[in-house]
């Protein structure tokens, strides 16, 4: 069972607000899912190598050169708040 304290901590890590109702329904749903996936422990996986990607690919290396044009402005047009080419956020340093 997920404790209220654990739920609060999870929400903090995931940068999600705890629901206004205190999260009882959310806690119930998460418990349901986590309790259900816990059956994975039944599988005998002694000596099995984890599979991270199908086909076990190795990451490709590429030549170290600039391939992208500067599209700074186009990309910043999608930002909610920009000034002088900088993203605006609430003040972080007093």
């Amino acid at each position: 069972m997920l404790s209220t304290e654990e739920l609060r901590r999870l929400c903090e890590l995931a940068r999600i607000d705890l629901p206004a109702d205190g999260g009882a329904a959310l806690q119930h749903d998460l418990d349901r899912v986590l309790g259900w996936v816990a059956q994975l422990a039944e599988a005998d996986t002694e000596g099995v190598t984890p599979l991270t990607h199908p086909g076990d690919p190795t990451l490709r290396l590429r030549e170290d050169r600039v391939t992208e044009p500067d599209e700074h402005e186009a990309f910043q047009r999608t930002a909610p708040a920009v000034e002088d080419g900088l993203y605006l956020v609430p003040k972080v340093i007093e």
């Binding site: 997920l2 999870l10 929400c11 890590l13 995931a14 940068r15 999600i16 607000d17 959310l26 749903d29 998460l30 349901r32 899912v33 986590l34 259900w36 996936v37 059956q39 994975l40 422990a41 039944e42 599988a43 996986t45 099995v48 190598t49 984890p50 599979l51 991270t52 990607h53 199908p54 086909g55 690919p57 990451l59 490709r60 590429r62 599209e71 186009a74 990309f75 047009r77 999608t78 930002a79 909610p80 708040a81 993203y87 956020v89 609430p90 003040k91 972080v92």
Partner: protein, 485 residues
């Protein structure tokens, strides 16, 4: 004309029996008439569609046309298309206008297709019913009170209702094959790495794969040939020579060994679906194929493994939505931490938040080995099951879904019950294999049933050949939902 397949429309265009502009106007008028009820498309751009139709007509007139030149299509709304809204079915991206094109948007545009709009979907591709969209549920054209499946439910409904002859989709745990089955059309999820994910909004990167919906195996082959291919901008794109996915369409299937997992026609499947699938196997046997029983003993654990791995990857991928660079931003946040929290809480729907929290949990200190690593080990067992089964057969067949389309707002739905909708499709994503769903019969209330064909990695052409052979001797793929006057 609207009932024709892409291949048939392509011939009509090249024989100048119809122009792309006429065809595009025809489908736009169907959209205007039917989309209000279905809610399949969330963006339609008539002007842009007609402009590209006229460009296609010029190519046709100059005899520079390929097989897809002038064919109208829609894109699932997680593929970025420059200048179009890309919402991912989320409030978070409701106003996001993509500054660039996804690889497959570029490829299909280069092939001459006419993009008419963007299709509704479960938010961030998380769902199996298309009820999780910020823009409202999509309705199944066969019965408006039922779901079309998800997450690519808008694409599937649009093709099934002939609002477009084909549409793109993405499939992380069944999001192409399951809605294809529930709406009576064809859909393919290619091998992991076959189609570039560049410009496709990420959900679970080790599972996500782009694919396509249409009315026949032949159409899927035409579209996939245009979409697939190496792209250095996707780190998991596999470098291989270009393929003609239609090369085996007419290969005889005599002697083909079809593996039917004993787990696939057992208890978890409703009798109407099992009956239709057995009928399809009989048809294939009649064409000379041989059915062999195979076993996939670890399938039972595939869905729980998926619901550890996919949320874990989602919790990381979706951390980019922070209200700073793009997407929804909460008003009046006093500090940076509350800007993040409030923007995410307002912008992301309940199922997305649930999966992010599950992912955060299974990756957190103390639980990582028990959940995440264990799930990845089970993933290996699931993939090894397929490898062993393919020692005895050439393709695997079974139902795509356990039931026909279920009602919208099914009461008492708990998240796990919804997750089990993807029982037969999820293992294929875990193993990275190609899978096709084709209509193969009618179940309860005359609703469509899908046959899933699974192949070894890179065996798409063979799967499409089997599907094509089936479609040459049956007409389930030609059946259309009833249309209101």
């Amino acid at each position: 004309m609207h009932a024709l397949s892409v291949a048939e429309l392509s011939v009509a265009l090249r024989e100048r029996r119809v122009s792309s502009e006429e065809l595009t106007r025809l489908f736009l008028s169907r959209i205007a008439r039917l989309n209000g009820r279905l809610n399949a498309l969330v963006t339609v751009d008539e002007e842009r569609a007609l402009a590209s139709a006229r460009a296609a007509d010029r190519r046709l007139a100059r005899r520079e046309a390929g097989p897809l030149t002038g064919i109208p299509i829609a894109h699932k709304d997680l593929f970025c298309a420059r200048g179009w809204r890309t919402t991912c079915g989320s409030r978070m991206l409701a106003d996001f206008v993509a500054p660039y094109d996804a690889h497959i948007v570029e490829r299909l545009e280069a092939a001459g297709t006419v993009h008419v709009g963007k299709a509704n979907m479960d938010e961030f591709a998380m769902g199996s019913s298309n009820e999780n969209s910020y823009f409202g549920p999509v309705r199944n054209p066969w019965d408006a009170a039922r779901v079309p499946g998800g997450s690519s439910g808008g694409s599937a409904a649009a093709v099934a209702a002939r609002l477009v002859p084909a549409a793109t989709g993405s499939d992380t745990g069944g999001s192409i094959r399951q809605p294809a089955a529930l709406t009576g059309i064809c859909g393919i999820k290619p091998t992991y790495g076959a189609v570039s994910r560049y410009g496709m909004v990420a959900y679970a990167s080790s599972l996500d794969q782009a694919g396509v919906f249409a009315h026949s195996a032949e159409d899927l082959a035409l579209l996939l040939t245009a979409m697939a291919g190496f792209d250095p901008r996707d780190a998991t794109s596999v470098e291989r020579a270009p393929e003609d996915y239609g090369r085996a369409l007419n290969a005889p299937i005599a002697g083909l060994r079809i593996g039917v997992p004993r787990q696939y026609l057992g208890d978890g499947v409703s009798p109407d679906v099992a009956r239709a699938v057995r009928g399809a196997l009989d048809t294939l046997t009649g064409l000379g194929a041989r059915v062999v029983e195979v076993s996939l003993p670890n399938q039972r654990l595939a869905v729980p493994a998926y619901y550890v791995i996919a949320p874990a990857e989602a919790s990381s991928n979706l951390s980019r939505f922070d209200g700073v660079r793009y997407g929804h931003r909460a008003e009046g946040a006093a500090d940076l931490a509350s800007l993040y929290r409030r923007s995410r809480s307002e912008g992301l729907g309940p199922e997305v938040q649930r999966r992010i929290l599950i992912g955060t949990y299974v990756l957190s200190h103390g639980y990582y080995d028990a959940y995440y690593r264990q799930a990845q080990k089970v993933r290996r067992l699931v993939a090894d099951d397929f490898a062993r089964a393919f020692e005895q057969c050439d393709v695997i067949a079974g139902p795509t879904t356990p039931t026909v389309a279920f009602p919208i707002g099914r009461p008492g739905t708990d998240p796990v019950q919804m997750y089990l909708e993807d029982l037969f499709t999820i293992p294929v994503n875990l193993a990275g294999l190609p899978g096709v769903s084709i209509p193969c019969g009618a179940g309860e209330a005359g609703l469509p049933v899908g046959l899933q064909l699974i192949g070894r990695a890179w065996d798409e052409a063979k799967l499409l050949g089997v599907a094509h052979a089936y479609q040459q001797s049956t007409d389930w793929h030609r059946r259309a939902p009833p249309e209101e006057p």
